[in-house]
């Protein structure tokens, strides 16, 4: 069973896509995501991202597992959007609409523009996660190395990427086994009090960190013996092969991104 952040060989449209086409598609969507702030437009991108997630058959569990991180980001967005936003920050919404007061909670004034910003930011976070996970789930390590080398990414960065992609699932597997092993010695996370929970988890926290460092050491050794040397100036003699689907995806992504940017920058469409 694949672990979180682990590629799984499958026969889906995204799995069969050339990794370069996938990268172009993702970068295009990310650019549009960065520019757009109108929740209606961001919602459309979020739906496209969700469609990609479903088509790639990326396990829904991945989104649940990273829920704690997502919740923290959500709270952060909420605080920023609700408590910090001011009508003057919005360039395309009229100041009256942007600054319309929805509620007042003590010293905090919640304005309409702030709500729109918060919704968009949350949708952007969800979309980014779904797209990144779909990419990881559908792209083999070899394809990653080929693509990154093709894109002239420095060897050291590729190395970090390769090690991280092997490390995360392996460490998660190790953590699962270790938790079972420790439960069999009476260790349990029982309390609902966060302070007590941290205290109960403490015996495992430091050793896990130590093990992770040791594992990185082993991976470094293994990467070397698999011919992966960081400092070598290896030029990849690999010519990417594209199918019709790849060309369609590349064309669609690039034209979509260019058109979106044009309308956003020229007419302010999708901006708030």
């Amino acid at each position: 069973m694949p672990m979180i952040f682990e590629y799984e060989p499958r026969n889906t449209f995204l799995h069969n896509l050339n990794p370069i086409a996938k990268v172009i598609m993702l970068i295009s969507i990310f650019i549009v995501l960065t520019v757009y702030w109108d929740p209606r437009f961001v919602m459309v991108i979020a739906l496209i991202s969700a469609l990609i997630y479903v088509v790639s058959k990326t396990p829904p569990k991945w989104l649940i597992i990273i829920l704690p991180v997502a919740v923290i980001r959500f709270v952060e967005s909420l605080i920023l959007g609700i408590s910090q936003a001011q009508g003057a920050y919005f360039h395309y919404l009229s100041p009256e609409i942007a600054g319309k007061v929805i509620a007042k909670i003590g010293p905090i004034t919640i304005i309409y523009g702030g709500i729109l910003w918060t919704i968009s930011d949350i949708l952007k976070i969800i979309s980014t996660m779904m797209l990144t996970f779909s990419f990881i789930y559908t792209t083999s390590l070899n394809d990653m190395v080929k693509t990154l080398s093709f894109l002239k990414v420095p060897r050291k960065l590729i190395y970090v990427f390769v090690v991280a992609l092997k490390l995360v699932p392996d460490i998660l597997r190790e953590i699962n086994t270790t938790i079972i092993a420790q439960k069999l010695r009476g260790w349990e996370l029982t309390s609902k009090n966060p302070a007590k929970l941290i205290k109960q988890a403490a015996p495992l926290a430091y050793p896990f960190l130590k093990k992770t460092i040791e594992y990185v050491d082993t991976l470094t050794m293994v990467a070397y013996i698999r011919g992966f040397s960081v400092s070598s100036k290896v030029g990849l003699k690999w010519k990417p092969k594209f199918t019709i689907s790849d060309y369609v995806v590349i064309l669609f992504s690039l034209s979509g991104a260019v058109l979106s940017l044009y309308y956003a920058l020229e007419y302010g469409i999708g901006l708030i």
Partner: protein, 557 residues
Amino acid sequence: MKVVEVENLKLTYDGVRRVLDDVSFEISKGEFVVILGRLGSGKTSLLRVLSGLIPHIYHGKVEGEISVCGKNIVKVGTEGLVGCVGLVIDDPSKQIFNLTVEDDVAFGPLNMGLSEEEVLERTRTAIETLGLMGLEKRNPKELSGGQQQRVALAGVFALRPKLLLLDEPISMLDPIGKTEVLRSLRKLNRDYGVSCIISESGNDLEEIVEIASRIIVLDKGKIIADGDPEDILSKNIIEKLDFEKPFRIKLLSKIRKMSMSLENIVKNASASNDLGRSEITMHSKKEILNVENVEYVYPNGVLALKDVSLNVYEGEMLGIIGQNGSGKTTLALVMAGVLVPQRGKVRVFGRSIIEYSLKERIRLVNYVFQNPDNQLFSETVEEEVAFALKMLKYPPNIISQKVTEALRIFGLEKYRKTPISELTKDIKALTSLASVYVLEPKILIVDEPTNGLDYPSSIRIMRILKELTLKGKSVIVISHNMKLIHRFCDRLVVIHNGQVFQQGIPGEVFKNVSVLKKISIKPPPIFEVAHELSEKLRMDSEKVMAVLKTIIREAEE
């Protein structure tokens, strides 16, 4: 042509710890050399020096002249040795990066920056040479241990090395996996002229010696013997290291002494002696654990256990054997109550295991993981052994008393204050056993307790486990080491494809050589030889076994 030239190699860690001392040897093209030595004798360090990992990736002061493929390893480092040296480690899962066989084999050539045509050609050749055809699209994690190690070997072979360094490559494999890997190594060595250096700690000597052309014995960082395998093994060198001579070597030396063929020795002995039948002891003890029609399916739909039923009796040592991935560990986790079966029941003292609370359960049935590092978390041995008792909130005086007792039983008194990070593999294994035993479970399940250990340490651990059974504890040992299972276990359960294939007394189970081979189980060599001879001489296999046992006993004397 010399592939390796080592002269007065000295290796020191941390400026003080000398691990290799004045090591000198040469290896020619096509040689198959076994580096034999106990744990900590310097085998792995030597392989790391030859692969350039020391001093370039791992720290260590290297002195002396070391040349591999005509290159000075200190100067060229690991990068300069790509395409010359390939290293394979004991655990294939660590060495495999990708999630399909062909992707993983291609990973090395791709990293070398070869053209796509060459990457494909090398991948195809490596897959064919290592007999992995038909598995190209499979996920290596779903393959058997032997197949995984062959994938790791193919990945290294695709780099076209002149020298293969193998750090105990078969120690974690089931017997058929070991045979598969050794057969592949023999092919690479003979057909492609790849020189091989393989390290060995004594447990797999029987298998490895059959393909070795030379043995170098390493003890405390020094070479104490170097020569032809038969010469080395016929002398008393390996006994000095507390290793056991391979069965076939013992047999051969006895045959030579008697100047008769083995067939004639067996015929004469069976005619003149009343050798009797092998002793069969039935267990009439109290049943304490009962597994009834258990079925377990993993969340991804893999059916791991199918209609498994077995009993565990008080004070017995039960062996569980089977191929990698046959369901042994799943069965153990189900018996320990870690996994809850979808069908069937596990009862301990007549009550379903899941009805016990976790704290009750771990004092009834407990499980020791294969890798001690999953269990060892504290700073010192004493703290580690006390961990479980502290979790269960025992009073300090009771903790101290129980810890002292556990340390005594496992021979760890002198390591009481030793930091876990400084322990050798065998002491780590003993500490992980003690850290679970301290809860005094009635049934202790031990997964591959001798994995990665040398022969003397393996024997020591098995003896300690056997002693526990004499105190009324039941011990379940999951192992690939058929010799140890045969020597120490009272009963045996064979698992195949998630089902109980056979169960009984080891001698009875192992004598079904041809049946076991069909499910990829290789019995200890004495059973294989007895089987071959009984078929050839049309004699009762038990009689042949008895004769062989007598011959071996005499040879040992």
